[in-house]
């Protein structure tokens, strides 16, 4: 099988999780290694998750933590 950029993109997550048949996995790897567009695409695909995880993280404020404990103590007696 000779993957195209499009068929490679379709299988990208399966590829990254290592759940494809070994032959398919190898042919995708070969395609990406020789394709500047796919190399750029895969890098930005991975970056997307990291960036969104970083910027959407919200720590639990101390007052909300206190309110939770008080709420649970009042409701679980």
């Amino acid at each position: 099988m000779n993957p195209t950029c499009q068929s490679g993109v379709d299988l990208l997550m399966d590829y990254l999780e290592g759940v494809l048949a070994p032959g398919v996995q190898a042919s995708l790897e070969q395609h990406v290694a020789g394709c500047a567009r796919c190399t750029a695409f895969v890098a930005s695909y991975l970056e997307t998750t990291r960036v969104i995880r970083d910027v959407t993280a919200v720590p639990l404020p101390a007052d909300r933590e206190k309110a939770l404990l008080e709420f649970l103590r009042s409701r679980t007696k």
Binding site: A40, S44, I52, L72
Partner: protein, 202 residues
């Protein structure tokens, strides 16, 4: 009982809490409250809503401790309760239908080759250099909010809360292949969105 013999695993604490040990339940709350709050923020898109979900999820967990039999890990069981609570909360709010992100999917020519150049495809990787953190955080939350619910839920659990695919499948009661399909679609849409965001920067 000697302290060293106590089972302080999640499951051990859950068993003691189910037998009426309030302090055991509080240890579990402290252990998971930040993660449940983070999950709820990302699923509801609002800190105030997330605070309600946090209370609701732990109260439901407490009330159903008797039905937790240790078939799943405690964390997986709690994530399931919290995810459902967040989805119920979200559905109870009247919202304007979100504009879909479909325009941001990658485009290919007839031969299946990316239409964009490598430089254009790489722009999403530079979004942090091009936008200030506050604007980027707001835009990222808006984009996650615009995903279809099934994609958003799977993406938040898998990629933002960093649960393994198999555990997300357990939380959602779907097959791992379905988790991968939903997360992949979400990643494609969000990647294209970030790319457009960064590409539009001067």
């Amino acid at each position: 009982m000697v302290a060293a013999e106590r089972d302080d695993t999640d499951e051990g604490l859950a068993a003691r809490a189910a037998d009426g040990d309030a302090s055991a339940f509080e240890v579990l709350v402290k252990r998971y409250q930040a993660r449940v709050f983070g999950l709820a923020c990302r699923l509801t898109g609002s800190e105030d809503d997330a605070a309600d979900v946090l209370q609701d999820a732990f109260l439901q967990a407490f009330r159903h401790l008797g039905s937790f039999r240790g078939e799943a890990r405690f964390g997986t069981w709690l994530y399931r309760i919290a995810t459902n609570a967040a989805l119920m909360h979200r559905r109870s709010r009247a919202r304007r239908p979100a504009e879909p992100l479909d325009a941001f999917l990658p485009a290919f020519d007839d031969a299946g080759v990316h239409r964009a150049t490598p430089e254009e495809l790489r722009v999403a990787s530079r979004v942090e250099e091009l936008l200030d953190r506050q604007s980027l955080a707001r835009k990222a939350r808006e984009a996650v909010d615009r995903l279809p619910e099934s994609y958003r839920t799977a993406f938040v659990l898998r990629d933002l809360e960093d649960l393994p695919t198999g555990e997300v499948a357990e939380v959602l009661g779907i097959e791992p292949a379905a988790v991968r399909q939903r997360v992949h679609r979400a990643r494609l849409l969000l990647r294209g969105y970030l790319n457009a965001l960064a590409g539009a920067c001067p």
